[in-house]
Every structure is written in C-alpha cells, then in structure tokens.
Symmetry: C2
Subunit: 230 residues, 2 copies
Amino acid sequence: MCESCGCGDSKLVPVDVHERILEGNDRTARHNRHHFEEDGVFAINLMGSPGSGKTALLEATASSMRDRGRFIGAISGDLATDNDATRLRRAGIPSLAITTGQACHLDAEMIHEALHDPPWKKLDYLFIENVGNLVCPAVYDLGQRANVVALSVTEGVDKPLKYPVMFRKADLVVITKIDLLPHLGGDVSIAAITDALSRVMPNPIHIAVSARTGEGMDAWTRWLVATARP
Amino acid sequence: MCESCGCGDSKLVPVDVHERILEGNDRTARHNRHHFEEDGVFAINLMGSPGSGKTALLEATASSMRDRGRFIGAISGDLATDNDATRLRRAGIPSLAITTGQACHLDAEMIHEALHDPPWKKLDYLFIENVGNLVCPAVYDLGQRANVVALSVTEGVDKPLKYPVMFRKADLVVITKIDLLPHLGGDVSIAAITDALSRVMPNPIHIAVSARTGEGMDAWTRWLVATARP
C-alpha cells in the first residue's frame, strides 16, 4: 500500500486500516463470486490505461459473441460521465455506469450494489470495465473469474515492465489498436511488447487485435468461449 | 478520498488519517517550493496516462530549450524500472529515477529526498515526470509552480470529461502525438479534444505537438519561457 492509499506501500496509513480495507473488499468479492457462479455468469475484470481501447474492444466483441450464441453485458467505471455505458448500449450490450467521483478504481462493494439489477443473471459474460488506470485496479478483487488487461500499441513497448503488478495478475493481455502499428516508430512491434510481457506474466498469454479492422477478434472470442467452459 | 486511498472519496479510511496524509504532504510540498524558489528553478509536475508521450516530449524539449539558453533536468517516477531517466540522460537531460514500488503517484516527500542531489540547483527547469496515471497524481502537491498534463490523441476525445480532477488542475494541456491524427477514426480531432478541455479547465490552455515531427514544439518552449518569467 502506498503512503496515501490502499494501492501501494504504506508509510502513513496505519497497517490495520489497510488490512481492514482489503479484508472487507475480499469478503464482498467472495460474495460477488458466489452470485456469479450461482447464476452461471463469467465475470471479467477488464483493465487498462485510459484510452487503451477497452470500450471499443467490447463494442466489437458483442456481435462476434452473438454469432456464437453468447450474450454479454457490461458495468463501466469512470470518475465522471456515463459515456462508456451509453456507447455500449448503442452496440446492443446491456450496460450500467458506475461513476466513482475521485476514486481511482472499482471495488467489490460498488459491483455488489450494481448486481442488484436483475438482467445480469441472463448473461453468459459480464465485463467489468474498470477505471482507466494501470496501477490501483489491480489490487482490488471484484469477484471476477478472469483478469484481462487491454494494452494499446500506442502506449509503447515497456509498460509491462513499468507496471508489473497489473500485468503479473493478468490471465490475458489483449494488445489493441494493431492497425496503428505501421504508423508508430520502428521500435514498436508486437514482438517487443510480447517480450516485455514474458518478463512479467507468470503465464504470458496475449492476443493482438484491432477492434476497427476486426483482426484478431476471432482469437479473442475463441479465448472467451474456451476459458468460460466449466 | 476514495474508500481505499488518499486519492478519492472515503468510506473506510478514517477522515483524520486522510487529513494527516494530505497535510503532511502539503507541508513538505511548501518546503520543496521554497527550495525551488531559492534556487531559481521552475518546477513542473508533468502528468498523463501511461504512454501519453511524457518522456518523448521531454526528449524533444531539451534541444529546443538549449537553443534558447535554458537548461532542463528531470525526475521520473515509475512503479518499476529506470527506463525513462535512462532515455532522458541519453538525450542530455540530467535525470533521476524514483521507483515507487506499488504506489500510484509521486508525493512531496519522494521529491524532497531527490532534491538532496545538488545538480538541480543549476537548472532553469525541473520536470517532475509523474507516474503514468490520470487520477491519483492530481491530488498530491509536489511543490511545483505549474501542472502540465500530456494527453495523446490516441486516447480519444473524452478523457477530460472522464478524469475532470486532473484536467481541472492543469495550467496547460499538451496534446501529443498529433502526427497520428490522420490514422485515427474521423471523430478524433483537435477541435473535439479542445471542446472537451474547455468544459473542464477553468482557463483552457492547450498546445498541440508532435515530438516526432517537431510540430508545435516551438509554441511549447515559448510557453515554458513566458510562464517561468518572474
């Protein structure tokens, strides 16, 4: 935990306060997980930097998944605005916005409150689109079955090394916006990004996609179907 | 303050703990500010998302500023690696890395420790390149004279609305990577980004640059020189 926050190393916040926060969160996360299992909903904590393409990925995912007879929904977290949930609803995805005010991540309690909305039970997948942030969201269990991190090629190649906590906890990294690769500097390549991932992730799995051209979307939806198998 | 951290709204961390953290930070920030004023160093808190181009902006800034007879240095914060400080030193910029471990932002105490290194006194400008994060760094005063936020065109147009705390506190927003504009979707434009900035910033000042092509760099260095005038 950091000296100011539950997200990093602590100098100032008393250890018992930190522990109480994370214990309380983990308790609610277990409760959420129980709900998801009971209702047969595969929950994914989708994280990434601001502008890493999380919403565009979900927009493109909806129709591919519908073709496979699977239905997805989303809870989108942002400090302000419900822009993402509105975009997703336009793409036919039942979506709810959580506005966090000044908070830098979603927590299990926010998700628990959102779960009182009954339509989630009919879904196959619930994507929890976290606040755009490569640090704090990694620390808070929400009750998900899988952590997916969206990493845009425009962010450069060394983000896994600079933000290792996030990438260490990822079950999958979706490398996004690959249609922009030809326009970036010569040192940005999928090979360089996956090399960085392999230094941090215990089990480095990644899929490179462009939500705009559709490249890689088939591999991503196949991963979703295979991973959600009971 | 958020329920887990000094960065957002609090439900769980006791109010007195939050207040003590921010009061302690502000006290050290005042101390840092006094040092900067005494030594005639103009300190800038440079913030932005991971991959928003903060380091590339500084690399490109060094030579433009040298041409104007001004010398810059940098302190670069990241959870892990000293990649940015290494890159900046290669560009001739005296630089120090602060690795924060799991902490999501720099604080005044970290900067104060770094200031014990004597070369800073000879600089005209000290750029404090914060951890890549559009939320938490906005809350912690470091003793800087100006807040500058780097916002890449690849992050889309609505980030100022989604992360208003960061943009509300910015003295200047540098819109980066404008060389990529022709390759992005039709709804991404400088006009759309500046429209979003004008809804959040009390005094919306922005400069659009490409560190790669050099476009806009002259306006940026002119802003630096004009703003640092006593």
